[in-house]
């Protein structure tokens, strides 16, 4: 069976060599070629490929962000020139990665690995969102969050994110009076956000410190954080302790 693949790279020549190599192997069919992250997200939704060749540095959405926004299980092969931060993560989480320039034999091996993985009954390494989290360079706070809403992609800069609310397996990202749902756990986004700017004030809430207007007592043992727009968020005891640490005693 031919594998169906999408190639994503902003450089014509980089897509061209992938095409040339894949045509030569004969058992991979390219169903779409994309020059940027937006196109890639759209194409993956439309074509549901088996295999995704993904560059990292691209306009609009980078390779990691693309991974966060696609839901069908897909075997991802990173194709990148040089990325000293991400290589280790690739080892752990991606099917494979190709370092530019690469030989057609090397590409053949990557395709074989993907094929073997896809034939497993419950492929382990195909959850794109997990892969995205693992591939992000550690210790680097998120600067923007990307969310897919139907076929539309929203980019929320961190400065415009008011608070995050847990909703089962999803999180609701509240920004400028709108809310966006994303499939991610609140603990995983807590790890990605800058801990000097965001605090987990409750099991279900992470709040942007700059949005807090005041903290009010609620019951004997709990408090609420009142945001500048009047929104009230529950604050747990440990959440209050964290806030005191970040904002000083007079909260």
């Amino acid at each position: 069976m031919k594998l169906r693949a999408i190639t994503v790279d902003d450089e014509d020549l980089a897509r061209q060599i992938l095409r040339e190599y894949l045509e030569k192997t004969g058992d991979v069919e390219i169903v779409a070629e994309c020059a940027n992250g937006f196109e890639a997200v759209k194409a993956v939704g439309e074509h549901r490929p088996d295999l995704l060749f993904l560059d990292i540095q691209m306009p609009k959405l980078d390779g990691f962000e693309v991974l966060e926004l696609i839901d069908p299980p897909v075997a991802v092969i990173f194709v990148t020139a040089y990325d000293q931060y991400a290589l280790k993560a690739f080892d752990a989480a991606a099917v494979d990665y190709l370092l530019k320039p690469f030989s057609s034999e090397r590409l053949g091996k990557a395709v074989e690995r993907a094929r073997a993985l896809l034939s497993e009954p419950h492929p382990r390494a195909l959850q794109a969102a997990e892969l995205a989290a693992a591939a992000r360079p550690p210790g680097q706070a998120l600067e923007r969050v990307v969310v897919k809403d139907g076929t539309k992609v929203h980019i929320i800069p961190i400065a415009k994110l008011d608070y995050v609310e847990a909703q089962d397996d999803y999180i609701a990202l509240h920004s400028e009076k709108k809310s966006y749902l994303k499939q991610q756990t609140i603990s995983s986004i807590e790890e990605q956000l800058d801990s000097a700017r965001f605090a987990r004030v409750h099991r279900s809430y992470i709040v942007n410190l700059e949005r807090i207007a005041r903290i009010e007592p609620y019951t004997k043992d709990s408090r609420v954080a009142v945001l500048q727009d009047g929104t009230q968020l529950a604050v747990s005891r440990s959440g209050y302790a964290r806030l005191k640490e970040l904002l000083g005693e007079n909260v």
Binding site: I17, P59, K60, A81, Y85, K100, P101, F102, E143, P157
Partner: protein
């Protein structure tokens, strides 16, 4: 050799200080020794002049036994031993002078004061030498850091650029061998020049611009129609002397944070002219204001700023501005033209 011998003015000032000390010493010896001013001075001045040189010797001991070394006991024994020896020499000298000038036993009564003063002078000199060594060490360290930074910057070839180029060449070999070869040649030119120019103190703006041109040509093969280059360069700029590779980080930023962030690509515009003896260079590019700020943002710019400041001080500036989707970097610094005799 002791650093004080390096220039005459510091040596003169040092000896003048000791002449003043000789005056004070004379005043100290006069009362217990029952001497008049001229006799006291005729002993104290030669004593102090000799002692001035004796008090330079801790420089060697202080270097041999730096503060904070684990052998603190040896340090103390050596310094104290040297102090006692120096003091004994100084008293011996005093008695010799008194004997030669036939001053009688009067000076003997001033010996306790002389011992205390000699000892203190020596120890003070030890302390000052440790301070001097510390200052020299920190200056040296700062210098080395700057040198290392400069070297790193000069020889810095962006690996991302290099590997992407090789990948483009690899893609072109089967479809367009002529362009593949062309790119090989241009890339080699760029690498060779980067390595060669980086070693020089300064180069002409013409050479710097040629390098940027080669770089942009290589990138144009890579980005294809996405990269458009416009250049408006005044001929007067050509012979201005500039620190090598001072333009390169600005051009690389324009590509990496500018053109590469745009789906449709954009234009890099390069302008330069000489005005009031200053070279003014402007690099302008399109960029996507929504793109996340890059990881290593500012390193290249900081390096440019540092290098301009090191070379030209306050007379140079680098200013950055972003408006809508245009980003511009402008640097202005004095245009020194090479002296034809020296440039040979």
């Amino acid at each position: 050799m002791h650093p004080i011998f390096r220039n005459t003015s510091s040596m003169t000032a040092y000896l003048a200080l000791w002449i003043v000390l000789a005056g004070l010493l004379a005043a100290l010896m006069r009362v217990p020794g029952d001497l008049d001013w001229s006799k006291a001075l005729s002993v104290s001045v030669p004593m102090c002049l000799v002692y001035a040189f004796v008090c330079l010797t801790p420089w060697y001991l202080c270097r041999a036994f730096p503060l904070g070394s684990p052998r603190i006991a040896r340090l103390l024994i050596n310094q104290l031993g040297a102090a006692i020896l120096a003091c004994a020499l100084w008293i011996g000298l005093a008695r010799l002078l008194a004997f030669a000038m036939d001053l009688g036993p009067g000076l003997n009564r001033a010996v306790p004061q002389l011992v205390v003063v000699g000892f203190l002078f020596y120890l003070m000199s030890v302390a000052l030498h440790y301070a001097l060594l510390a200052v020299e060490a920190s200056r040296e360290a700062a210098l080395q850091t700057r040198d290392a930074e400069l070297r790193a910057l000069k020889s810095q070839i962006n690996p991302h650029f290099l590997f992407n180029c090789l990948n483009s060449i690899s893609a072109l070999t089967s479809t367009d061998p002529v362009r593949a070869r062309d790119m090989c040649v241009r890339l080699s030119d760029f690498l060779r020049n980067t390595l060669g120019l980086g070693e020089r103190e300064s180069i002409s703006w013409r050479e710097e611009l040629d390098l940027a041109r080669t770089y942009l040509e290589v990138e144009q093969i890579r980005f294809g129609s996405r990269l458009n280059v416009e250049m408006k360069m005044d001929d007067a700029c050509a012979e201005c002397q500039v620190p090598p590779l001072v333009l390169q980080p600005l051009i690389e930023n324009a590509i990496k944070h500018g053109i590469a962030t745009m789906v449709e690509g954009g234009t890099v515009r390069l302008e330069g002219h000489v005005e009031n003896g200053n070279l003014a260079i402007r690099v302008e590019n399109s960029f996507d204001p929504e793109a996340p700020s890059p990881r290593r943002h500012g390193l290249g710019l900081r390096n440019v700023r540092n290098r301009l400041a090191t070379r030209f001080g306050d007379t140079a500036r680098l200013s950055l501005a972003a408006a809508d989707n245009r980003y511009s970097a402008e640097m202005v610094f004095p245009c020194h033209r090479a002296n034809p005799q020296i440039s040979k």
